[in-house]
């Protein structure tokens, strides 16, 4: 355990930025909080919750995955070292969730995996909910992590208490930016964690909704009536830390052809439309049902873990009030 003074954070990031790309939450025009390349003066406390999830660091909105030039096919993958500072535990849990799909089992995504290998993550635990829409406790997560990070920072007021979660974290913590922990920091850490848990608003209903969906989910009419409001913008999907569906297309470039993938959204009709024209999810309601059943029912059945980490970004992003919070409330009636 170590300490990092708040006024030393920028110096530490500046130093790291010399050897790798450092990303940190930056408030843009005091409105959107985005993960941006570290620049002098751009980083500000408090860290907050970014408008978009951190998934774009590993799975960019748009990336070229294969290049065809004459007889030559190349699959270039990222090799840049990246350090992300200041993402929240919910984002880290989102990354763990997508790791399972992208890096393990029968399918290994080379682009995601290459970025993941080169990624260092410094999580800042939430000592209080960064926004109104947070519901991580209810989503059976916590406002801090027990494992699965490189470094985790706990806000102790005058500075951060720093806990390592990997050998990379241990190495980082050995650098001169970090100071020895204070006497009593172990007890203090427990106190912060407890306060942090207590400060989280609970929106009871998540587990009830999961049970309801597992048992005998609401019927078609329920989803269709909710979906009347949906304007098919896809915002909930794009901001979600665990949504990783993508579309692939080929385009001609100056030197040949490039295969590109972009984020996609299961709410769009074309996502499930078959070549014949038949669409197994033909209505907004059926697509809305699929999206939420996937996260709250099938992920729980398959992985014993919901595909929703309780970050609340979909509720923030939805222009018509159809985020996870509202859906869960509606399922519970």
């Amino acid at each position: 355990m170590k300490r990092l003074r708040k006024d030393r954070v920028s110096a530490f990031l500046r130093e790291m930025n010399e050897s790798e790309t450092v990303l940190c939450p930056c408030s843009v025009d005091d409105r959107d909080n985005l993960l941006m390349p570290f620049e002098e003066g751009s980083r500000r406390e408090p860290v907050g919750k970014t408008t978009n999830s951190a998934k774009g660091v590993l799975f960019p909105q748009k990336e070229d995955i294969i290049t065809f030039m004459g007889d030559h096919i190349s699959k270039e993958t990222a090799t840049d070292k990246v350090l992300v500072f200041g993402i929240r535990p919910c984002d880290m849990m989102g990354i763990h969730f997508t790791d399972r799909f992208m890096t393990r089992g029968g399918f290994r995504d080379p682009h995601y995996s290459a970025r993941r290998k080169n990624l260092t993550i410094i999580v800042v635990a939430c000592h209080e909910p960064p926004s109104e829409s947070c519901f991580c406790l209810d989503a059976e997560r916590k406002p801090y992590l027990d494992e699965g990070f490189d470094l985790q920072l706990f806000d102790a007021g005058d500075g951060y208490i720093v806990v390592p979660g990997s050998s990379r974290g241990e190495t980082l913590m050995g650098t001169h930016a970090f100071e020895d922990s204070h006497r009593g920091d172990t007890a203090k850490l427990e106190e912060i964690k407890k306060k942090s848990l207590d400060s989280q608003r609970t929106r009871p209903g998540f587990s009830k909704a999961v049970e309801r969906l597992k048992r005998d989910g609401p019927d078609e009419a329920f989803w269709e009536s909710l979906a009347l409001k949906c304007i098919d913008c896809g915002s909930c999907v794009y901001v979600c830390p665990t949504c990783t569906c993508f579309n692939v297309f080929d385009r001609s470039a100056e030197t040949g052809f490039v295969r590109t993938r972009t984020w996609d959204a299961c709410l769009h009709a074309g996502f499930t439309r078959e070549t014949s024209g038949h669409n197994p999810r033909p209505t907004f309601g059926s697509r809305l049902a699929r999206r939420h059943e996937h996260k709250l029912k099938f992920d729980v059945m398959n992985y014993n873990e919901a595909g929703c980490v309780g970050c609340g970004r979909c509720t923030d992003a939805c222009p018509v009030g159809l985020g996870a919070i509202e859906i869960i409330e509606a399922i519970n009636g």
């Binding site: 009347l228 996609d264 018509v320």
Partner: protein, 528 residues
Amino acid sequence: MTNSIAEFEDAEAFLVIGSNTTEQHPLIASKIISAVAKKGAQLIVADPREIPLAKMAAIHLRHKVGTDVALLNGLMHIILKEGLEARTYIRERTENFEEMRSIVSDYPPEKVRELTGVDSGDLEKAARIYAGHEKAMLVYAMGITQHITGTDNVKSCANLAMLTGHVGYGSTGVNPLRGQNNVQGACDMGALPNVFSGYQSVSDPAIREKFQAAWHVQGMDESPGLTVTEMLEGAEAGKIKALYVLGENPVVSDPNAKHAARALKQLDFLVVQDIFMTETARLANVILPASGFAEKTGTFTNTERRVQLSREAMAPLEGTKPDWEIICELSGRCGYPMDYDSPMGILDEINQLTPSYGGITHERIKDTWGLSWPCPDKDHPGTPFLHRGRFARGLGRFEPKEFIPPAELPDEEYPFVLTTGRIRFHYHTGTMTRRIPLLEREAPTAVLEMNPADARRLRLKNGNMVAVESRRGELRMPVAVTTVVPEGVVFSTFHYGENNINELTIGAVDPVSKIPEYKNCAVSIRRL
């Protein structure tokens, strides 16, 4: 719009007529949806098609295509009959009421039902909802304007709003939703045949003198120029020799499109300025490559008259220039130098010459969400809604109109009404959106929406190919069998240059605004 977007949230009732809001103005639609779903606002949708908003509506008035004046007169008739009009407001703030009363007295529900097909009970309910709420917003778009009676339709909307006192207050008003991010700005800046910027008339000698002095020129023409439809007519007749087209694709977007292409080919000289190769640019003698929105700095004026600064996010692609630089350079080479150092220099001039933009300076909009005109001076806070206290012209004048049927009605030879519109995945002629694979996947081809009853009669199933023919051309496309369209009406979109529905639409125009009747023409359909 007389009112502003934020006011939608507090409205108690909406009349949405001729606007498929969720498709074309989804963020404004989201505010309507929230007001209805969360706050219990009453929604009336008037549209021949069962648009998505209709599913949330208290009442859906499914009037026949092109019968808007009859429908609106019918609503006013009921409002007057039931004494729901805003008497004090009419007395104090309007004029020509008696003529109005006399014309709409001739539109009783039974007659309106005959003309529009709308049930009298529904019409009465809608009239009571709209007149009965203090904060009622009337919202329209191209379904009102793209008719030979477009101007009459707009005036009838204004009549209804004034009759019920729904102009000049928050969350009320007559709210045309503009179709492009800057179409309001283009009109504001005088990209119209009869006005300078800020709607200052070219026929007013004092206004001409002001601009002549500012621009150091003499003898500016006092007569209005031509509208787009008149320019193409002129080209075909050989009266127009050269045309300079900026950011428009008339080969696809003009009605009776084959005729438009023929007209352009008659020109001696065609210049097209655009960011992509369009169907129109292919006909050009000279193409001037322009920069895209993210490659330039300037202002956009949106549907609520809000002027916002947009900054260059990336350098222009090599070989392209922002539109203003191209125009300035062209002007210089034609012998009139325009020496603006930047878009801000142009805004300075706008501030000086355009009273409604007088206080919308670079300084005031550079770090804000912008300002809504009129904003005459640097201390003015901008104007979220118009006509507060009094109308801009003094008294609001009722302009009653009689119903006139569309130019081309269905007959034995062409038994279907074809109405055209848009879908959310593509923008206009698809110049930009059809280059985006995900959008193209969602909506790759033109389809013809047809009611199941008609499909049965023609022995058609979803996806069957048909030939659609009007007096002007023939196209082939698959049918989409759906109850969204009523019997006897088919619908398609104009986003697809390779299968361009505007080859079928009619060139008939509104006599005042010259807008074509894209919303109504007669077609026949046969199975292939």
